[in-house]
């Protein structure tokens, strides 16, 4: 009877300790990354839900996210991989929605979009443009967001495995 009572208490304590440890190890360099990803998704979700707004509405959000990304990198709240990939997402978004009267930047935008889509999804960008091309770019942006989320989720684990491997290669401590 006593064993039956003690076991759940121990289990709850172990769970609480485990959760606390997770919170300690996951903060703070991951929190900023998660927040930036959430911010990006929420911005598009709100704009899509409202159905209003053009580049002038999106622009302040992109600027704020860029400033937050830079600040997070300076304060070592995000790692270099996250910074590079997320900055590319922001740059690609801005390049794609930026008004280009006279199509002066079209060759540059097409080339960057093609490279981006190829790097993320492995697809070739449809050269005819229009809705299918937009769909490809949007899909690549979404995939890259998911990739960054997984990158953050597995960051601790990868670092731990890497450390263990390094120790094995270096051999036992003398």
């Amino acid at each position: 009877m006593t064993k039956n009572r003690i076991f759940p208490v121990i289990a709850v304590c172990a769970l609480a300790l485990n959760l606390t440890a997770y919170e300690v190890t996951s903060a703070p360099e991951k929190k900023a990354g998660y927040a930036l990803l959430d911010q990006y998704i929420r911005t598009f979700q709100e704009m899509a839900t409202r159905g209003t707004g053009g580049p002038d509405v999106l622009e302040p959000y992109l600027q704020k996210m860029a400033a937050d990304t830079k600040k997070a990198k300076e304060q070592a709240e995000i790692d270099p991989v996250f910074y590079t990939h997320f900055s590319r997402i922001l740059a690609m978004t801005k390049l794609f929605v930026k008004p280009d009267p006279g199509n002066i930047l079209k060759p540059l935008i097409d080339r960057e979009a093609a490279n981006f889509v190829k790097d993320i999804t492995g697809e070739d960008l449809i050269t005819t443009g229009g809705a299918p091309a937009i769909s490809q770019v949007a899909n690549a942006l979404a995939e890259e967001i998911v990739n960054l989320q997984i990158h953050l989720d597995t960051l601790d684990r990868r670092e731990a495995i890497r450390k263990k491997l390094d120790e094995r290669i270096a051999g036992p401590k003398k």
Partner: protein, 184 residues
Amino acid sequence: MGEKWDDREFKDIAWLIREDEDRALEIFRQRNFDQTIRTQVAAVSDRKHSFSGLSMAVPVSVAVLLLIALGTVLLVTWRPSLGPRSGPGPIALILKDLPGVSDFVMPRETLPAGAAETFGPARTVRIVLAMATRQKMEEERRAAAPTGNLKVPRLSLEKKMQILFKERPIERVLVSILKKSEEV
């Protein structure tokens, strides 16, 4: 019993009464009742006078306040002539500079083209409507503006994927923006 009061007893009683009277008179003279009563009467009279003054002050104050309110309403709504105004009045000039009021002053250019400027209650209603519209626009602008921190509710990977690949907000927004750009 059949007892009879004799003269002696009557005399005794009369003497006692007289003695009481004398004692009462002596006390009356010693304590100076006359002066005491006069003082008390004067005090009661003064209180009555002061109470009547206070009771008059309340309706007078109410009347003055009502007059001030009526005057303010007339100043705001009533204009002596329907001719074109040369400019805002002194009260309007003072009110316009007050913080909070200056935000709600309706600019003249918001009048519809060809509409004559109205006065009186119509103008008041128009100003209130303009204030409400402006306040609503301001609230919408604030809601649309990005917030200053990174603290947004955290989305799980599943939730993110659900939004990104089911709702497809990025594609919808990109299509919408590019359509608008083409229209322009």
